[in-house]
């Protein structure tokens, strides 16, 4: 579903991503760990088509993102660290707005169901987004991704700043999405959550993917030790 082939990106003389090769299958959750500036967000932006690679290819659904920006954009969604939406619209209205922007025509009760599926309780659906917590905003972000019927969801530091309960809820939602066939590519600092939610984890340092493994082969404490050694 998602593939990087010798993917590289330079900002001037500085290497942001160097010869990245990885694959994320359908229904798989891939968590990419790394320090600030390791190249995680640049990698996501290359897949989203917001940046063009210096060399190599980013493929989404088998299509080169650079050559098929419109087609690849239709099957992917993005949840940033802080989901910024329109504060003076409600969660339901934001969902309706962004789903329409994506060209989807979804009835109001279906939109409510999507919010419930994303874990946002009904009593909050019609409250203004400016009153939402970070976790609630992320749930709206997930509902937006669902409304787009995206096959691939990119998440950038999604659990940063969430309390343990909200993180747990978020983890369960991600697992549920993967079970339903969505591929998830998550950039994170949160080693324990990465091991918990991910099917595979990778560590990135100075633009290079220096480690990649299935989570069934490693537990959180081993991962933390490895992470601290490699960076």
């Amino acid at each position: 579903m998602l593939e990087a082939v010798n993917l590289s990106k330079k900002y001037g003389q500085k290497d942001a991503v160097v010869d990245l090769n990885l694959k994320v299958e359908k229904g798989e959750v891939f968590c990419l760990l790394g320090q600030n500036g390791a190249g995680k967000t640049t990698t996501i932006n290359l897949f989203l088509g917001l940046l063009d690679p210096t060399s190599g290819k980013a493929l989404v659904g088998g299509l080169d993102v650079v050559e098929n920006k419109v087609s690849t954009n239709q099957i992917l969604a993005y949840i940033p660290e802080v989901v910024q939406l329109y504060g003076n619209l409600s969660g339901l209205e934001n969902l309706e707005f962004f789903s329409k922007l994506a060209g989807q025509k979804i009835a109001s009760d279906e939109l409510s169901k999507l919010l419930l599926e994303a874990g946002l309780q009904e009593e909050h659906h019609k409250s203004k987004l400016s009153s939402y917590s970070k976790g609630m905003r992320q749930k709206v972000g997930i509902a937006i991704a669902l409304s787009k019927q995206a096959q691939v969801i990119f998440m950038d530091e999604p659990t940063s700043g969430l309390d343990p309960k909200a993180t747990d809820e978020f983890t369960n939602i991600c697992k549920s999405l993967a079970k339903n066939g969505k591929s998830i590519f998550m950039a994170t600092h949160d080693i324990f959550n990465a091991v918990n939610v991910g099917d595979r984890v990778g560590i990135m340092n100075e633009g290079r993917l220096i480690y990649s493994s299935h989570t069934e082969n490693i537990d959180a404490s081993e991962m933390q030790e490895l992470y601290l050694k490699t960076i």
Binding site: L48, L50, V70, N73, Q74, L76, A77, Y78, P80, V82, V83, Q84, L85, Y86, N88, L89, E93, E96, F97, F98, K100, L101, A102, G103, G141, I144, K148
Partner: protein, 449 residues
């Protein structure tokens, strides 16, 4: 999506404040326009009543001498005010709408009016045309300066970028929402103004409305181009406010200055001096010489002969008065031509300054521009001449005051009905500037997305 874009924008404080402000200002401007029309109507009514009383009083006082009576009698000429003038007062509050004329030398009487505050010439009135030309662009700037940058600055652009099928459609949607709101408010104000002021739904009103609409579109096109240049909100606001200042205040003031210097009017003084000299010098000139010149102008009166060189003669007195106008005629014509040239030059400059173009078109369709006033002055010459030609034979033949039907002298009304509308000249330059900025915007949007 448009419904939600409307909701999202309507809930912003900038939108609520902006719309409230322009509705209040628009309402005030309509009230001011109504007040102006009421004043003009009251003046016209008073002129009719005053003329009747004035004639009756003077006929009583000087009923034994027609020539003396006509020295005092004034005949009112009204410059008819179109209801559209309530939307665009222009210079009509500076120039007299009622001119009371004696059959003596005319030139000195033309400019008998109250003193006015000259700064009003630059800033105009708070009429609806002022609100459209000055205030609406500010509102367009307030609504547009962060059209794109707010998305980037608040972080929503990331989501839009990934979710939108067409980002240009999203930006155009935001633009359309803002335009429809402001255009709706503008048309609402024009509509309310038309009803309150009793404006007829004719081609002049259509041109007024279209000019206002195109002027608004021009500002939207200009702002859209600027905001698509990827600057932040602060820079956009600064750039757009600078452009507003230049287009709405500085450039028109510069053009006004340039035209005033480029077309100096020494004739304004020389006309007055020649008219006064032309008359006063005749007191020391032989009556025969004066009368010969007078009869050259009016051979039909030559049979009244030459008065005695000694003593006073009403024929000679009115001939002297007349000579004042004759001897200042060339300077007067030159002055009229220069004033018309100033107006023509303004129109030329206005082709590249949309705010000036809009204001000139508003004044023109409302009949409150400089050209309209010049037409009124031109008509005043005919009005004055007709009065002279009517009374001269009576004065020269020493007719009885009672032989004149004074009841027929009700105020005459000047209506400028010979105006034709050249749509291309009026709207062409606005359309071209809109197209220019639309094309520039297309290139900028392509780079942006």
């Amino acid at each position: 999506m448009y419904k939600l874009l409307f909701q999202q924008f309507l809930r912003t404080r900038a939108c609520q404040l902006g719309l409230t402000l322009v509705l209040i200002l628009g309402g005030i401007s309509i009230i001011i326009g109504k007040q102006f029309l009421t004043d003009q109507g009251r003046l016209a009514d008073q002129a009719t009543q005053m003329q009747q009383e004035h004639i009756e009083r003077n006929v009583k006082l000087h009923g034994d001498d027609l020539s003396l009576l006509l020295y005092y009698l004034k005949f009112a000429l009204l410059n008819e005010t179109d209801p559209l003038a309530g939307l665009s007062v222009g210079q009509s509050d500076l120039n007299p709408g009622v001119q009371r004329i004696r059959i003596l030398a005319l030139e000195g009487q033309k400019y008998d009016s109250d003193l006015v505050n000259p700064t009003k010439l630059l800033y105009g009135n708070l009429d609806l045309s002022f609100v459209i030309v000055y205030v609406f662009p500010l509102l367009v700037i307030a609504f547009m300066y962060n059209l794109f940058s707010e998305e980037r600055e608040s972080g929503t652009w990331q989501m839009v970028n990934v979710m939108a099928r067409s980002k240009s459609k999203f930006l155009l949607g935001k633009l359309l929402v803002r335009f429809l709101l402001l255009a709706g408010v503008m048309l609402f104000l024009i509509g309310v103004g038309a009803v309150v002021l009793g404006v007829a739904a004719d081609t002049a009103f259509l041109l007024f409305t279209l000019t206002a609409l195109f002027y608004l579109i021009f500002w939207f096109a200009l702002c859209f181009w600027v905001v698509c240049l990827r600057q932040n909100s602060n820079v956009n606001a600064l750039v757009l406010l600078t452009i507003w200042l230049a287009l709405v205040v500085l450039l028109p003031a510069f053009v006004n200055n340039y035209i005033t210097n480029n077309y100096p009017l020494p004739e304004a003084l020389s006309t007055m001096i020649k008219q006064r000299d032309g008359y006063h010098v005749k007191w020391d000139t032989s009556k025969k010489e004066t009368m010969e010149k007078f009869y050259e102008e009016y051979p039909q009166f030559a049979n009244y002969g030459f008065p005695s060189e000694k003593g006073y003669s009403p024929t000679w007195y009115y001939a002297m008065q007349h000579m004042g106008d004759v001897e200042s005629r060339e300077d007067s014509r030159a002055m009229q031509l220069k004033i018309r040239s100033r107006e023509a030059s303004s129109r030329m400059w206005a082709q590249v300054i949309p705010s000036m173009q809009a204001q000139l078109v508003f004044n023109e369709v409302a009949g409150t521009g400089l050209d309209d006033y010049m037409d009124f002055l031109q008509y005043m010459n005919e009005f004055h001449e007709n009065l002279r030609l009517y009374f001269y034979p009576m004065i020269f033949s020493n007719s009885e005051v009672a032989s004149v039907d004074w009841g027929q002298f009700t105020p005459e009304v000047f209506t400028n009905s010979n105006k034709s509308i050249n749509w291309t000249k009026k709207l062409g330059s606005l359309v071209i500037t809109i197209l220019l900025f639309s094309v520039l915007s297309i290139f900028s949007v392509r780079k942006l997305i």
